[in-house]
């Protein structure tokens, strides 16, 4: 508090936000915590169970399997969407009428409701009537995403790349646009190659927006539910059952509220931990 005045009245201004956050985040979270340590058979009768559900979830093969699928999925889409997004942002025109055209085209997938995206791709990829499905089969490749795990993964990843690469593109493009012309001119005069310009000017200047893009894409993909649920329903078998889908199956399908609550909390902590790791890694060196 050095040199700063403290004014207790300030709390009054913060109060509405605190109340709002309490209602939409803290209270629901506490109910989840409440469920996670108790057993219920309905009628609002609860029995204390301690950490039993947590132990059960942590030792469950089913949880390990969906966590593994989730990690793989997120790693793959980050590995595709981030470099692809940067490449598209670099290729976009810097001025002229095409800028707005490109921006609108890029924004389009982001404006489509998630379940619509799932439904679109479901029909698009159907092997008998879908444009994509028919085309792939027409090329002589046996493709049926409702039956083949690899085809299901391929379709889900393609759908996510189509849906979300734009976000990376738009953020990177904004970062690129903020670089003054003088940097490019100086690099030209210094005789820098295209790669050197990317490595020493564009990438460092994009770092902040790229951090945001990666964090957003990580969190969203790690919590993905709607699109694969509509597209594959988690199948064939459990091959595209990611964490959220599994969680919903346990909570609403089997109505196992205790294990589902414990799993939610573990899920939440994993997301929080990984976000922190990403953020720390990418912001390292910023303070130097």
């Amino acid at each position: 508090m050095n040199g700063k005045t403290s004014n207790p009245k300030a709390w009054l201004f913060v109060l509405p936000v605190v109340a709002l956050v309490a209602f939409n985040a803290l209270i629901p979270l506490m109910t989840v915590v409440n469920y996670s340590v108790q057993e219920t058979f309905g009628d609002n009768v609860f029995f204390w169970e301690g950490v039993k559900w947590f132990e059960q979830v942590l030792h469950s093969d089913r949880f390990h399997a969906s966590l593994g699928r989730q990690m793989t999925f997120t790693a793959i889409i980050l590995a595709i969407e981030v470099p692809l997004g940067i490449a598209i942002a670099l290729a976009m025109p810097r001025r002229g009428v095409w800028v707005s055209v490109c921006l609108v085209l890029m924004a389009l997938p982001l404006l489509i409701p998630w379940n619509v995206v799932g439904a679109m791709w479901n029909i698009f990829a159907l092997p008998d009537i879908g444009l994509l499905g028919r085309m792939i089969n027409g090329l002589g490749i046996d493709y049926n995403f409702t039956q083949q795990p690899i085809a299901a993964w391929f379709t889900t990843i393609l759908m996510d790349v189509w849906h979300w690469t734009s976000l990376v593109v738009l953020l990177c493009y904004a970062g690129l646009r903020s670089i003054p012309d003088a940097y490019y001119q100086a690099a030209k005069i210094d005789g820098a190659s295209g790669w050197a310009v990317f490595r020493h000017i564009q990438l460092p200047k994009m770092k902040r927006v790229l951090t945001i893009a990666i964090l957003l894409r990580f969190m969203d993909s790690f919590m993905i539910y709607t699109e694969p649920f509509v597209l594959t329903g988690g199948g064939p078998g459990n091959t595209t059952t990611f964490l959220s889908i599994d969680l919903v199956k346990i909570a609403l399908g089997q109505f196992d509220l205790g294990p589902a609550a414990a799993m939610s909390l573990i899920y939440f902590l994993i997301v929080l931990l990984l976000c922190w790791v990403f953020y720390t890694l990418m912001m390292r060196g910023e303070q130097q």
Partner: protein, 360 residues
């Protein structure tokens, strides 16, 4: 190193310029001699940066040729012209150390090893950056970063010309002076041509041997600071350089003499041929106007103290003049008479000095 010639240059940012106003740079031919210290002076938007970017190759002129020595470089990109440029805002490669920043242009040109290292250390010493070499460039202050920008030009031995585009804009006032004298010193040590763009007359006059004054896309005068002060070829130069600027008074010419306030005014050159000019004016700097017992009758309207001298505003009909009165001298109040020093009073026709001042 070489002489730089701009031949019949014109530039427009529009695809098909129609009127004279469409040209950002109007027709000009300018020679810059090898090793000179030039300043390109003019108000914002007069075309100085355009001219600079044409010399550096960042812009290709609409018309005309750019020659370095005998070689036509008009269509060459900046990296092949062997020029260096320091921009308004410091450009450093944030992720690199100061050392890597300085050696970067050399590495890009395939120079490395002991030679490059020696050169970098020599330039760093010259710029007083030696202690900073292992530090990250991003952590430096604005003046440090601007020194790096300059250093990246100085390390190259092949540089024809170093150009500065208002390089002191973001530097703290007390460091501006330090950096400016550093530049002057560097020019003497490295001997390459330097062109310094600025809208600040103090910067231009202290740095340059030759000042190129630009106004609305035209070079109005090229000369030494003394030339610009004593013999402004255009009323704009008179206005822009000097503080306060030159007095410009409407006049008529009658019988080979300038007439102001019903009196014949003695001028440095007799205005023999006015070429049917639309406007005729007398130009005289406040330094060369003094109170006298007879001469042009005026009313004293304002006196402002500027330290060693006072600036006095006087009025004759609608025309106002400023004159400088040294400390300690009496200033008449109310009605008075003034005298213009004939050796420094000139007649301007349509803005240009008559007799020898027709074109730049």
């Amino acid at each position: 190193m070489a002489r730089i010639s701009l031949q019949d240059l014109r530039h427009s940012y529009l695809p098909s310029p129609r009127t004279e106003a469409d040209w950002a740079l109007k027709h000009m031919s300018v020679d810059w001699s090898d090793g000179g210290a030039y300043a390109l002076l003019g108000p914002s938007g007069c075309g100085k940066t355009t001219l600079l970017n044409i010399i550096s190759g960042l812009l290709t002129p609409t018309e005309g040729r750019v020659l370095f020595g005998d070689e036509d470089v008009t269509d060459m990109p900046p990296d092949r012209r062997n020029i260096a440029q320091v921009f308004q805002f410091p450009v450093v490669y944030d992720t690199m150390t100061v050392y890597d920043n300085l050696i970067f242009p050399l590495r890009n040109r395939g120079v490395s090893g002991a030679d490059a290292d020696r050169k970098v250390r020599e330039i760093a010493a010259m710029l007083e950056l030696d202690d900073m070499l292992p530090k990250r460039a991003a952590g430096l202050t604005a003046d440090g970063k601007q020194k790096i920008s300059l250093g990246r030009g100085l390390v190259r031995s092949d540089v024809n010309v170093i150009m500065f585009d208002e390089p002191l804009t973001v530097i703290d006032p007390h460091l501006k002076w330090v950096l400016r004298s550093k530049l002057k010193e560097l020019h003497q040590r490295v001997g390459s041509t330097m062109i310094y763009v600025t809208h600040d007359q103090t910067e231009a006059l202290t740095f340059a041997d030759q000042v190129v004054v630009m106004h609305e896309g035209t070079v109005v005068q090229i000369g030494t600071p003394v030339d610009l002060f004593e013999r402004p070829r255009h009323t704009f130069v008179g206005h822009f350089i000097g503080s306060p600027g030159m007095n410009v008074l409407p006049c008529t010419v009658d019988g080979g003499q300038a007439v102001f306030a019903g009196q014949a005014v003695q001028t440095a050159d007799a205005p023999t041929d006015t070429n049917g000019a639309k406007t005729l004016e007398i130009g005289v700097r406040p330094e060369f106007v003094s109170f006298a017992s007879d001469g042009i009758p005026v009313q004293v309207t304002k006196v402002s103290d500027a330290g060693r001298y006072r600036i006095v505003d006087v009025q004759h009909d609608a025309a106002t003049l400023k004159l400088l009165v040294p400390e300690g001298e009496d200033i008449p109040s109310g009605s008075a008479h003034i005298r213009l020093d004939p050796a420094h009073t000139r007649v301007y026709a349509d803005g240009w000095m008559l007799n020898g001042g027709a074109a730049a």
